[in-house]
């Protein structure tokens, strides 16, 4: 029983980690919080529903459609909400935050109009597959989620640390102006970052749809808020922090359900935020901030 819950917690935690990765990438490069990330994630989940349930097409296609749609959303987000604010004089650092809040509330209600307010099932025969080891039941979906999470994490780390584009991205994260002077096409890198972050969110959306079998327009908000909690917990802009923070949150949420306080499950994330901000504002893996970034 406990072991099963542990596996559930790990699954949940890996999904949280993937969502948090999207936040962390954008924050690392642009220094802003993308409040619309949760809604992009929700659109990814809905694409999964539309492809597998409404159109009865295979699951692999769901991933492709979700990736394409969320990439488009990321592109629009950058072009409409973020780029106009960049480099403008006299714009406060809160402007991108407010602007992405606008995008988030727009997308949520768009989904409301398209798909309705209710729960949408995500029925694939795949989600019923399970393996029995002793008394423990492991669903194939959980394994897939775990595998995809690890794969994403490894490939992202590899891409960031070993490839030329990754190097350029890190240069942008360090100092946008200097990177631009050294010949990095910062405009392109920023756009790439936002798109990659959105696509990661979209993949997480399909995974969540598979794991929990329910998709609603409101899920973007709750998942987005948890993603925020995780990047604060793990340290803003830290890829490792997002992974560890996600697992911590996933496990502690499952544990509180085991101990019977399921109603307060959603509060954990925020209590964690407030505590971590008081005790260690830079997060578990973050660098202490010496100067506020503009």
């Amino acid at each position: 029983m406990l072991l099963e819950q542990l596996i559930n917690g790990l699954t949940l935690g890996s999904i949280y980690a993937i969502v948090a990765l999207g936040y962390t990438l954008v924050f690392g490069v642009l220094g802003i919080i993308n409040m619309a990330h949760g809604e992009i994630f929700m659109f990814g989940a809905f694409m999964g529903v539309v492809v597998t349930h409404t159109l009865q097409l295979p699951l692999a296609l769901a991933f492709l459609v979700a990736i394409a749609v969320t990439a488009m959303l990321g592109l629009f987000l950058e072009l409409i909400a973020l780029r106009p604010l960049r480099g403008k004089k006299g714009v406060s650092h809160l402007a991108p935050l407010i602007s992405t809040i606008g995008v988030s509330i727009f997308l949520e209600n768009l989904a409301h109009h398209f798909f309705g307010a209710g729960n949408r099932p995500f029925n694939t025969s795949f989600s019923q597959l399970s393996i029995q080891i002793g008394s423990v039941t492991i669903y194939a979906v959980q394994l897939v989620i775990f595998a995809i999470a690890i794969l994403l994490m490894i490939s992202l780390s590899f891409w960031l640390s070993k490839t030329k584009a990754g190097k350029a991205l890190r240069a942008c994260a360090e100092n946008l102006e200097a990177a631009s002077l050294l010949g990095v096409n910062t405009k392109k890198m920023i756009m790439l970052t936002v798109i990659i972050a959105s696509v990661i969110g979209g993949i997480a959306g399909v995974l969540v749809g598979m794991a929990f079998n329910s998709v609603t327009p409101q899920m973007g908000l709750s998942m987005g808020l948890k993603g925020l909690a995780i990047i604060i917990l793990g340290g803003m802009g830290s890829v490792r922090g997002a992974m560890v923070g996600g697992l911590i949150l996933g496990l502690s949420e499952t544990m509180i359900v085991v101990f019977g306080e399921s109603g307060y499950r959603d509060a954990i994330a925020f209590i964690a935020i407030i505590i971590i901000l008081l005790v260690r504002p830079q997060g578990l893996f973050g660098q202490p901030v010496t100067e506020a970034r503009r």
Binding site: L97, S99, I101, G102, V103, F106, I271, A292
Partner: protein, 330 residues
């Protein structure tokens, strides 16, 4: 005659506009030190629930309940403010967002007190209480020739109007005082303000607590006007709605959030077809305002220009009079 003029529905819309103006003011105060709070829906909820619970369970008079609601919200503001104001900008926004969600989860789960997700109904209504109070003194609605539900809405509207005007005049005066100057200095540049000898922590907590107090006050009024509250009234959407009053109208001068609240509350009422797409429009407004006019529609410059225009007009009339006098003289 009077009976046909008073439409309870319009008066209710006007009352909601007034409550939204108070909410707009609450976010304006917090923003006037450059802090973005997404927890105002939480403070509003605390005010509403406190007032509803004490008036129902302990039979306290309405006015005590409302004031208590505001005070509890304000104290929570200080409690939340003191630790989180070390944080800046984005961190503060997320922490307050987290606070708002915790409050909502608490309302849902603390069923013994808050009746959970169902919400609290049959909260004493300001207007109805007043009308029964008036009846005891021998005054009824028939005496001025209107129905009693009309009298209720008129009374609610008048009370809110007085309260709102008092609040506005208080904050206009505060804006011109030492405190207001300190707020503005902190908004401009925190380190410079600190170097000038302004106690930033004190003023930031003050602004935050004032915002929380006013939001709690608005929440308490809301509870006693709708007579029904539930946790979903104080969700993230409400926080964004409060924020948008200031973002749209303008956060530099107090006229901004007032205009924002009036316009954005009456818009869905005037254009019925639009109300369905309300939140989508809110989203577009937020993005567009940030891109084109981040300080909001009404800003210092506009107020300044209006004043100058008026001065010019006055000057003109004086000049005209002068020249006329000359004409007569020659």
């Amino acid at each position: 005659m009077l009976a046909e003029l008073i439409n309870p529905y319009y008066l209710q819309v006007l009352s909601f506009i007034l409550i939204n103006i108070i909410l707009g003011i609450s976010i304006y105060i917090t923003l006037s030190t450059g802090q973005l709070s997404l927890g105002h829906a939480g403070f509003m909820g605390i005010g509403a629930y406190t007032s509803a619970i004490v008036t129902i369970n302990y039979d306290l008079p309405l006015i005590v309940g409302i004031l208590l609601g505001a005070i509890v919200a304000g104290l929570t503001g200080i409690l939340i403010g003191l630790p989180t104001l070390r944080l800046q900008g984005v961190y503060l926004a997320i922490a307050t967002l987290g606070f708002g969600e915790v409050v909502r989860v608490l309302f849902i789960n603390w069923e013994g007190m808050t009746q959970g997700a169902v919400g609290i109904s049959s909260i004493p209504h300001i207007g109805r209480e007043l009308v029964t109070g008036l009846r005891d003194t021998g005054f009824t609605a028939d005496m001025i020739g209107i129905r009693s539900n009309q009298l209720i809405s008129v009374l609610v509207f008048l009370i809110l109007l007085v309260v709102t005007i008092l609040l506005i005049s208080f904050f206009v005066r505060q804006h011109r005082s030492r405190v207001g100057r300190a707020f503005a200095a902190i908004k401009m540049d925190e380190s410079a303000a600190e170097a000038m000898g302004i106690n930033i922590t004190y003023y930031k907590v003050l602004a935050f607590a004032q915002g929380a107090l006013v939001a709690g006050f608005a929440g308490a009024l809301y509870a006693h006007i709708t007579a029904y509250i539930s946790p979903s009234d104080f969700s993230y959407h409400r926080a964004v709605e409060i924020l948008i009053f200031a973002v749209f109208g303008g956060s530099e001068v107090i006229a901004g959030p007032i205009f924002g609240a009036i316009f954005l509350t009456s818009m869905p009422e005037l254009l019925r077809d639009v109300s369905e797409y309300r939140y989508m429009i809110y989203g577009v407004i937020l993005v567009a305002m940030m891109a084109f006019r981040p300080q909001g529609l009404i800003d210092y410059n506009m107020i300044h220009k209006l004043k100058r225009l008026r001065k010019k007009k006055d000057q003109k009339t004086i000049d005209e009079k002068e020249s006329k006098r000359h004409d007569i003289g020659s």
